[in-house]
């Protein structure tokens, strides 16, 4: 602590006294004596006590910070009960490990699109933390350079994936199970990776989806979903590289102004002329 203006006074000790940390200790009486007998300590006490009280009041007045809806939705998805009959529900539905989003963000800056292998053999969450704006930032300039850039004309973010869960389950969803994406992801072990760097388990069935492993293509796809959904910006909760009724499909769960949805889209999603290539969509309650 600086406190240079209180020469000869141990401000930490005085703060302890003011805060009641010395109650019942020998130092309590010693500091009380110093305050009573030493003008410097007396003056410092006169200033510090009300100032500390003012700080306490100020801290108590800080506004509450409710959990962001995206994170709350992700936690709900992580811990929700496994519905009976969900495909591949034989294993623990809650992931054992999560990808460190903050660390991932830093790595992205250090090495764009460098593969991030996570917790081999276990399920992982991979948030790649991209938010697309029409006025491009340095962050996603690269991603839009290669794609047909689509974004909200008013400059609002169209897609927020900062809290998205990225899965590679290869689950074969049907119309009934589409409303519960990710529920079956632990049925078999996978190595989950950054969407730009598919793991080696992504073989035959995944090859059709491989264009969507690239972040810029995936973002184009999500942008198309946002446009076709017509519910304003999307907050993406989950992306699953999987199948729908036997065909390779990207399963996207999101919330928008028109509610929560799960879409199954084809491998052409986001490419010019294909739009979102939606195969099926169901509301999520």
């Amino acid at each position: 602590m600086t406190g240079a203006e209180f020469e000869g006074v141990d401000l930490d000790l005085l703060a302890d006294y003011v805060g009641g940390a010395l109650l019942g200790t020998p130092d309590e009486e010693r500091v009380a004596s110093l305050i009573a007998d030493d003008p410097a300590w007396h003056a410092a006490f006169d200033e510090l006590a009300p100032a500390m009280a003012a700080v306490g009041t100020t801290l108590l007045d800080l506004p509450p910070e409710p959990m962001p809806e995206g994170l709350a939705a992700r936690l709900d998805a992580m811990f929700r009960p496994v519905p009976a009959g969900a495909p591949g529900e034989s294993a623990e539905p809650v992931p054992a490990k999560v990808l460190d989003l903050a660390e991932h963000r830093r790595r992205r800056w250090a090495s764009w699109a460098k593969p991030v292998a996570v917790a081999a053999g276990v399920l992982a969450f991979a948030g790649f933390g991209l938010t697309r704006f029409s006025s491009q930032s340095a962050d996603d300039a690269q991603s839009t350079a290669a794609g047909s850039s689509v974004a909200d004309a008013e400059g609002a973010p169209m897609v927020d994936t900062s809290l998205a869960q990225i899965l590679h389950t290869d689950t074969d969803y049907g119309r009934a199970s589409l409303g519960m994406p990710g529920a079956a992801e632990a049925g078999s072990p996978h190595v989950f990776t950054d969407p730009a760097a598919p793991g080696e388990e992504n073989a035959a069935g995944k090859s059709a989806l491989s264009p969507l492993f690239a972040s810029n293509v995936l973002l184009d796809c999500l942008d198309m979903i946002a446009r076709e959904n017509a519910g304003g910006p999307l907050s993406v909760a989950l992306v699953d590289y999987a199948r729908f009724e036997g065909a390779p499909a990207l399963i996207v769960q999101f919330t928008a102004a028109n509610g929560g949805w799960t879409w199954a889209v084809g491998p052409d999603c986001g490419t010019r002329g294909a739009g979102a290539a939606a195969l099926h969509k169901v509301p999520v309650r």
Partner: protein, 238 residues
Amino acid sequence: MHYIAGVTFREVSAGVAGAGETAPTDAELIRAHVDGDTGAFAELVRRHRDRLWAVALRTVGDREEAADAVQDALLNAHRNAARFRGDSAVTTWLHRIVVNACLDRIRRRQAHPTVPLPDGSHSDDRPTGPEPAAPLPDQDTVLVVRDALAALPTEQRAAIVLVDVQGYPVAEAAEMLGVAEGTVKSRCARGRARMAISLGYLRGGPGQAGNRGGRGSVPSESAAVVPLPNGHDRRDQR
């Protein structure tokens, strides 16, 4: 409405039962989870997530780090719920896990400094990125106070977040932090004193001329010793 282990209940704050319906206690939810009820832990999370988030966000000061810390902590709690022996309240146990996850992240950040991000540099200890606060009439004051809080040493910040910001009693904060009550009092007191200086709340202090937000003017009269909150004025709790 949720249905867990055959018990119908509404979303309620811990310990507050809805009229005519039974709200399981936190301890009952933990037991149900350990016994295999797959919905119990989700309900527990829903019940406490806002407070856990607030603690994490204020402690690490970065939304992504806080999200990771909360997620890590809750997965940890989910896996290790069977080890919860009921020596403390469930919410205390959850907070302790979250606080430890936050402190671990801060320590890792200190041990492994990273390349500053283009969107803002950060030191190894202080929060890394913008922490947008909810709109307030006096946003400047909030930002100044937040910065002063972020500048505190980690241990002092964690104690102040629990006691002074979240309003937990010192005894409960001590359990959450795994330290003695006196240590919590000392960390809070020293942190408050540091903030008093940095915010210019002291007459003749370095920030007096710029007592931003117009708060915290120091009374001319001497004040009585100011105890730390005892929990009666706790807000946003249970």
